[in-house]
Amino acid sequence: MAGDFEQLVLFSIVRLGPDAYGATIKRDIEARTGRSLAISAVYVTLARLEAKKLVRTHVGEPLPERGGRRRKHVKLLPAGERVVREAYRAFKGMLEGLEERFETP
């Protein structure tokens, strides 16, 4: 089972696919939830997800626009895929019949 924030990160990784790494995940969650995110939080969460064997990471090439630093790309593992599906189903189930209430401001 994954925590709230871990779920958000997992959803974001699914959406971003091969583009998933720290900065894009941070941007995606910030844009969709409207809350600002600390980069340190993203990395701590990724470390936890990796420890739970839900994601795998690999390191890219140094890039000039990153001040010569490398990117750490994230890929969803099958276990992660299952957790995301479970979370999605749970949410969807819980939201059934409540759409109108939450969709109207």
């Binding site: 925590g3 924030f5 790494y21 720290g22 900065a23 941070k26 941007r27 600002s36 995110l37 600390a38 980069i39 340190s40 939080a41 993203v42 990395y43 701590v44 969460t45 470390a47 390191v59 890039l63 626009e65 990153r66 001040g67 630093r69 490398r70 990117r71 750490k72």
Partner: protein, 884 residues
Amino acid sequence: MTPRPPAPRVLPPRLAAWMAGLRVARVEREYALGDLEEDFQAVARLRGAAAARRWYWRQAIGSLFSRTHLRGMPMRLFFSELRSSWRQMLRSPAASTAAILTYALGMGANIAIFSVAWPALLAPLPFPDEDRLAVIWLTYQGRDNTTQINPLSGGDYNDIRAARSFSNMAAYSHYLSEVNLSAAGQPRQITIGQVSASFFPVLGVQALLGRTLMPSDEDRDVPVLVLNERTWRATFGADRAVIGRTVRLDGDPVEIVGVVPAHAGLGTIEPDGWAPLTLQKDRERRRNYFLRAVGRLAPGATRATANDELAAIMKQAGRDFPDSNKGLSATAHDFRDEMIGPARRPLLVLLGGAALVLLVAGINLAGLQVARNLHRAHELGIRQALGASRLRLFAQLVAENLMLALAGGALGAGFAMVTLRALARVAPADDWHTGQLASPAGVAAFTIALAVAMGVAVALIPAWRASSPPRPDATLGRGSTASRSAARARIGIIGAQVALAVVLLIVATLVGTSLARVLRVDRGFRFDQGLVADLALPQSRYSAIETRVRDGKVERVYSTAKATQFLDALVERAEAIPGVTRACVINQVPLDPQVGSMTWVAEGDTRMISSSVKSASPGCYDVLGVPLLQGRLPRAREAEPVVVLSRSIAAALWRDGSDPIGKRVHMGLANGPLMTVVGVVGDIRNNSLERRQGNQVWMPHANGYFTPSRLALNSALPPASLAPQLRAVLTDLDSELALANIRTMDDIVGKATAPRRFMLLLLGGFAMIALVLSAVGIYGVLAHLVGQRAREIGIRRALGAPTLHITRVVAGSTAVAILLGAAAGLAGARALSAVVASLLFEMSATDPRVYGGVAAFVSVAAALAAWPPARRASRVDPLRALRD
């Protein structure tokens, strides 16, 4: 058209980057910072560099305080305590404000001194491998067997530059020359340092624009000039097209070939521009000691091996040139010492003073902390009873203090910045490198480190004690009398604060009294309503080599008749300006850094007496207010060269006390030109207000030595209103000359006493902070005591204790503490007197009046602070006290 160079890459703020990385695991830091930089660059492109920097800072702070990832981290406990501390802090705003202010005052003083002292004492100088640099001086045994240093002659330099211990060596002239620069608009006076082509390579300084000097520059038809960045910005508006431009220096064309950073000459010489120094290549000594040298040690060489080699070289020179070099040696001195040596001791004293303030604040806070913890004994007792571990309570108390310390540190850094901005204006810039305060990142790091250290140190013991297993009475809210150990702690706290305040106030008073003494010192001249301006007559146009016949021999003489004529006209025109009472020209006004010095030999004697030379027009005695003691003053036209002696040199030249009037002296050596003494004037404090160096030889500038470069006048008008008229007069006489540096005598005295004023300002400020903190601390401790013992006092009163008795309960131990503290403070000041003595002027560092006065003053101030709580104790209503 040349393409625009690409905009320089914007870099994220380094301190923020460091902060952002703090809470990311070390191995992940690269990726996290890369992510931030990626977005940072995007923000920079869209909204500009400033917005991007602000964005980055928000990210860094957010990352530091993010709570998402607290789970499972060891710091979790602490951070959650920090949050509850924040709430605790808001719950008692008055006490928190008092604590934050105390932290701020204590730390502010230290942050301010740190920012000044760091670059001067510890920070690396802006020269690569500075520890391989050495400054080389000639050395000789002076009187009382001290080693004296002296600039080198050209021959000496040519000898020592062969030393293998140095991979490269550079020479530069000991004095700066003042020249008139005509570039665009009005001519401007600038200073030029002459340096060998190796000067910049030895120091490791690269040109910002263009190039530095090259050996071939010495032979060019059009001389070259390398500009100081400061001058390039101020005079040339940072125009990049300045390279290759020809300007006029004293009327002669000069090509600008480069711009070097403002620090390029730091500590060696820092003029507005550098020109090549042309040296003879031979070993002949010309007794012209005008060179300084800086060398870079060769790989494997040390300063010790270099000194051995230099000594050997100079020994050989002593054999080859016994006339000039007997007894002379040369030594390499530590570069850094040479640069910062003069500022070190005052800075150490200031650091010590600031540390004392920190100590006062720390004691004060510890007292406050003990009181607060006692106050909360009830709450802490309950929490412990409910199962909170001692560690948890301890962490809570430390975290609370840390919160206060960090808030105080931030406020203190604010204080320090404001203070420093004000101080930078009065700081003696030459000695302190005040242009180079520690970087904001350095200050922030220091502040955080200091706040953490202080917050933890202050809280440690009180917190440990307060978190000790509950005593049975704590939860019951009883405890009507204070313990013996608490009483001892109280005496300690009050005594220590009084002692520290006494020490600081004694040092500040001594420094202040010294400044007053320096300002009151009999200067020997009265330059009232004095105004001085600099001008530099170019030798090329105002002097000439003339051939004349004297005693049947043909002589080639250096004639300055044109300069004399010009200067006389200038004086006449200046005196005609309304508001100017009197004017004159002179080579050097008193307290001027520019020096002119010579040796003198009485006719028929061989002893050489060294003296300052004042080459002045006849009006100067009047303008400067130098009293004539004997004989007469020089006239505008004299039949033969004449001089006027100061009382001291007259007595030194003729030790039998005979009347010097009408006698003759040789200038320079015993075969030098003869001049007749026509008068004796009083000694003046010429080079420094603080040193009695009374030897001065005054001569009419018409004698032709030491061409005047100062216009001095008496006028009640402010310099600003007189400047345009003076400039107009000068331009009218010679349009290529500039009038520089118009200043009053007060400005000159102010500059000469700037280090003392600066010191006094800071130490006085520290002493005041310490005094106020001590008073507040004493008040706080006693107020708390009275509050705590209200019940006991009430019972005593109910039992019929007289008011005096009640007051004594509170005041008795306080008086003992104050007296013990004052005594300890006196002893402390006495112990420091050796260090302090070096800052004083004509007074003892253990002056009993200062010691007694300060001890009495601080004791009274402490007693006044103790008075309100003591009075309150005597008015405790027994009924209320018992009921509550």
